[in-house]
């Protein structure tokens, strides 16, 4: 018991005294004493072994204490972030309404300024979705498909905002192309997510997306008269070349990795 106290004291030598440290030390003394009793109950009567065993279970008390401090900090940070988010949301809502009213009263274009209000709400929804995606991504891979769906929703939100701005505010007739671009953006974002989150079948998504993406690019470029409709369509079958190249690169990367050294066939008997 005395040795355990000494171990605790020596571990915290040089650490400035504080209420947290005092409480932590008290908790440690109680825990380690209980552990020693448990070992004695199991039939271990060698005090040296009991001491060594306990020390081996807590080799870095200072580190454990640091972890505790970090946990306390993290908890505080979480709480602060939560409060800041609520305050931020309220301020965001107020500022948005004020700006909307300001613009509307100044310009008198009530028929178009609502786009600002709707867009601001959509941006807020998108922010919430991003937070959820971040949370889900940190969890097990079974939650990743849900993250990907939410990301697609987010891309659509921004597509809708851009469409509203172009069509309602600026009256651009070709604004419908935004939705074609939105589909392209959705596939791109999903492909990047699959790669970054190390999704097991990411390569199949990449391959699967290339041809539809080529079709979307074809529609956008042709609609904008950047490339002619004919023979611009060649872009779609030409995307097969990219698919082929992606497959080849993936195979090359796969083959490049060194093989694992295997143990001898008869390893179980080698020393005989």
């Amino acid at each position: 018991m005395k040795r355990i106290m000494e171990y605790i004291d020596s571990a915290f030598e040089g650490v400035p005294e504080s209420e947290v440290l005092y409480k932590y030390k008290q908790k440690l003394v109680a825990e380690l004493t209980e552990r020693a009793n448990e070992l004695t109950h199991s039939g271990l009567d060698d005090e040296n072994v009991i001491y060594d065993l306990i020390v081996s279970e807590h080799p870095d008390l200072k580190g454990e204490y640091k972890e505790l401090l970090n946990e306390i900090k993290a908890k505080k940070r979480k709480k602060t972030t939560f409060i800041l988010r609520i305050i931020g949301s309220v301020i965001y809502a107020m500022v948005t309404v004020l700006i909307y009213l300001g613009i509307s009263f100044v310009t008198g274009a009530w028929g178009r300024t609502w786009v600002f209000l709707v867009s601001a709400v959509l941006v807020y929804v998108s922010y919430i979705i991003f937070l959820i995606v971040g949370m889900l991504t940190k969890r097990r891979s079974m939650f990743h498909p849900l993250s990907r769906i939410l990301l697609a929703v987010n891309v659509n939100i921004y597509t809708l905002i851009v469409f509203l701005v172009l069509f309602v505010v600026f009256g651009i007739k070709g604004a419908w192309l935004t939705f074609v671009f939105g589909v392209l953006a959705m596939m791109t974002v999903d492909g990047i997510y699959a790669e970054k989150a190390a999704e097991r079948f990411a390569i199949f998504f990449h391959i699967g997306y290339i041809m539809p993406a080529a079709a979307m690019i074809y529609i956008i470029l042709s609609s904008l008269h950047i490339v002619p409709w004919h023979p611009g369509w060649i872009m779609i079958p030409a995307s097969l070349v990219i698919i082929f190249a992606v497959i080849m690169v993936r195979i090359a990367i796969h083959n490049k990795h060194t093989e694992l050294e295997e143990t001898e066939d008869d390893s179980e008997w080698n020393e005989n």
Binding site: H41, N48, L53, R200, H254, H257, D265, D266, S267, E268
Partner: protein
């Protein structure tokens, strides 16, 4: 507060094997030396503390099974029994054939039998906690820690600790290999209905361990003669096993038969230091297309079959992701039922446990004079042949739940094994057919 441990994939799989075997792994070591019981107790307590799964009880929760760590007293683990030397075999067998239910508070039982200045150390443990590979490591660590404690007073704490997850087999693979191995959903082991010719199961069946010792002279020859044919010891034993089976069970010579051979998946792990004791075993299904004209042709078939597996860098890793997925996506009760349908437990198997190194199993400078290790007691019609060697003496063992007639069948099988080994090593006068 109650402490719980995660039930790992292999814990659950071995629990599922309850219909096929009693899940006990056995070891017996005979010493011309009196073991210091207090020292042994100290080492065992430390090891139990380092690997709490040994003093945990398994809960078959329908959703997610788990281990609950229990308080214990070492006297419930270790028994010391004074016996007469002539009763040794009977007493040892009685101890080794005991069954520890997974729900029991302790998953390992140790007994020291004392007679005329000699000791036999016997240990039985639940396969759900660790396999033969780690049991061998456990025994070596037990002996070295015992020696250190007895000689220098060093606290016996040197037992590996860490993850028990099946996923550690992937940890030393390259990123691409890991990705590929984690996608090996295919189960490459096919069902084979050939059976060991046991009698029918009955309520009167009792567990027994049958052993056959092959002399050091013969064992050395198995290695040297095997080399001439490009065969490992495992291949030689496998060939003798195949040939003896055809002879004993009377399989049609043109029939293809398979024997599943246990493989240690630690071959894929370079550094085992931060791993807890656990299971890392899979099956390699060795298949021969027919008996062959003689045992030498059978040997060639066995070599060819084993080499096919050895050339595969993902040897033994097939099907693991599927099992993991099965347990992950469904509640335990449902996944067990589904896995039972898809998983075919081999009817005929072999476990090459390998050498029991006497120098590493020495207690206070006294090397064990005899010993062996064996796998679980199989329920008919399942059978597992375990092979261990000590001082170049090969021990073949079969743990079976059966009757006296089954004992006789196993004994006949061992005689056939020895006869066929003799042919393989050229001691019977039979020569290879040209």
């Amino acid at each position: 507060m109650e402490r719980k441990l995660n039930a790992e994939l292999w814990d659950k799989m071995h629990y599922l094997f309850r219909d096929f075997n009693d899940r006990m792994v056995h070891v017996e070591l005979e010493y011309d030396y009196e073991i210091d019981i207090n020292a042994l107790k100290t080492v065992l307590i430390c090891f139990f503390e380092k690997a709490p799964v040994f003093h945990s009880s398994f809960t078959d929760n329908h959703i997610k099974p788990y281990w609950t760590v229990n308080r214990y007293n070492i006297d419930d683990v270790l028994t010391v029994k004074e016996i007469n030397e002539e009763d040794r075999a009977k007493e040892v067998d009685e101890f080794l054939t005991q069954y520890i239910p997974p729900e029991a508070p302790l998953q390992m039982k140790v007994c020291v039998f004392r007679y005329g200045g000699k000791n036999t150390l016997c240990i039985v443990e639940n396969h759900m906690c660790m396999d033969g590979g780690d049991f061998k490591y456990f025994m070596k660590a037990l002996c070295s820690n015992y020696n250190g404690y007895l000689k220098d007073g060093v606290s016996p704490l040197d037992l590996r600790q860490g993850s028990r997850s099946y996923k550690t087999v992937y940890k030393d693979l390259s990123k691409t290999d890991k990705k590929a191995a984690e996608s090996l959903y295919k189960n490459i082991n096919k069902k084979d209905d050939h059976r060991f010719p046991f009698t029918k199961s009955s309520d009167e069946d009792k567990s027994f361990i049958a052993r056959k010792v092959i002399s050091p002279e013969k064992f050395v020859k198995i290695r040297t003669e095997g080399k001439k044919y490009g065969a490992t010891i495992n291949d030689m034993l496998m060939a003798a096993y195949f040939y003896s089976l055809y002879e004993l069970a009377g399989f049609d010579e043109s029939e293809s038969v398979s024997i599943s051979c246990a493989i240690d998946l630690r071959r894929h792990i370079k550094d085992t230091n931060n791993m807890g004791v656990t299971n890392h075993t899979a099956w390699m299904q060795c298949k021969i297309p027919e008996l062959g004209r003689d045992i030498f042709e059978t040997l060639q078939y066995a070599i060819r079959s084993a080499n096919q597996f050895k050339q595969d860098k993902y040897m033994g890793l097939y099907g693991l992701p599927l099992l993991s997925l099965g347990y992950k996506i469904m509640p335990h009760a449902a996944s067990e039922e589904i896995i039972k349908i898809g998983y075919s437990n081999p009817l005929i198997a072999m476990s090459n446990i390998g050498i029991l190194e006497v120098d590493k199993l020495a207690l206070d400078g006294h090397e064990p004079v005899r010993g062996f290790m064996s796998g679980a007691v199989k329920y008919k019609p399942y059978v597992l042949l375990s092979a261990t060697s000590m001082r170049n003496e090969l021990t073949l063992s079969m743990c079976v739940r059966g009757n006296d007639e089954d004992k006789k069948i196993v004994s006949d099988f061992f005689d056939l094994m020895e006869k066929n080994i003799d042919i393989l090593i050229g001691e019977s006068g039979e020569t290879k057919a040209e």
